[in-house]
Amino acid sequence: MKKVVVVGGGVAGMQTALSLKERGVEPVIVERTGALGGKLRNFHLLFPSMTPAAEVLKSFTDQVASSGIEVRLNEEFSDFSTDAPIVIASGFNVFDARLKEEYGYGIYDNVYTTVDVERMFNEGKVGLKDGSVPRRIAFVHCVGSRDEKVDQRHCSKVCCITGVKQAMELASLWPDAEIFNFYMDIRMFGPGYEELYQQAQQEAGINFIRGRVSEASPTIDGRIQIKAEDTLIGRPMKMTVDMLVLIVGMRGTDGGKFYRPRDLFGGSVLSDRPNVFYAGAATAPKTVGESIAEGVMAAEKVVQYLNDGN
């Protein structure tokens, strides 16, 4: 019997493979990059519990290693015509912040994305380009989310909580820094998220300003001036910050779009083809936990498919 191909070695893919193996089906993980772990490898602490991403990642890679699942790294899977069961767990791409040119990513020093911040935390080097400590930091929510102008109509779902989490992390790292989060809506849907948000407001002293940043420009002293409307006051505002963090959204991996599942209920891991399944953020923005849960569900459906077929 042919092995079940799991496309993508992130948490969703690894969980799918583990669950398949448990049910006696032999999976093979095909991973585009040189290591398992997907986006989780770039993350530092996971919201809302602040669990180290490395810890979660290690438990998965250890299980994959000990279960003897075949893993093919540095391989791009493209043979979708095969009749072997395929589980697409290709996750998402991070939105390229350079497309929002007006925010100056890649143009001005000290404009970062949330992904950069996670990486800086992992590398243990958080700070401005010249190594100094910022006095003022602004986070811009919804960069590459809910924006027709970059063909990203959807809400990326996890960015609100990511922005809040990182604001708190920076606040505890630099207690003297002033931190401002510019948001359109704060969408705190998950368990413990609202609590974290409240903690950010009340304990970490993060300032939440309701308004979308329209543009950033450099100042004479190398800082960044941003403009927004404080919509709750109804007046335009501007401020100069030392560090601008763009909270970037997720872009789909199906030519920039997310894969479309058969339906959003019982068929959320099914595709229009009987032997193709989905798991994780390939179909929509999802959290780590939700992606793992879908891995289990996808494995279950694959097993059902195999049993029905034979």
Partner: protein, 110 residues
């Protein structure tokens, strides 16, 4: 007959949707349905040249119009230079300049 007591009755500040005549607002939205897709992010007002020099607040004024609060909207919209920056930053892709002209046409002297 009115006697002047030296003060007048203050008008209520509440946006009274029972009293406001929304027919014009509905007509405006019907002509440009995208107008009601606004998520009030304020990007337009932030980037607006007029908005940074005067009380003009495009987001606020167009919202007021949608609520049937037409007073003063025409005069406010007249501050718009139609430069189009707001349209470039609008995440909902609203034809903001079209909205300005539509409101002016419906409330003003076209």
């Amino acid at each position: 007959m009115a006697i002047d007591f030296g003060y007048s009755v203050s008008q209520p500040r509440a946006v009274d949707l029972d009293r406001n005549d929304l027919s014009l607002a509905r007509e405006i939205v019907r002509e440009m349905p995208e107008f009601s897709a606004c998520i009030a992010c304020g990007g337009c007002t932030a980037t607006c040249t007029a908005g940074n020099l005067t009380s003009f607040n495009f987001r606020l004024v167009q919202t007021l119009v949608r609520r049937g609060e037409y007073a003063g909207a025409y005069a406010e919209m007249n501050k718009c230079m139609l430069c189009g920056k707001c349209r470039l930053v609008c995440p909902r892709g609203i034809n903001t300049r079209g909205v300005v002209r539509l409101i002016k046409r419906k409330l003003g002297d076209y």
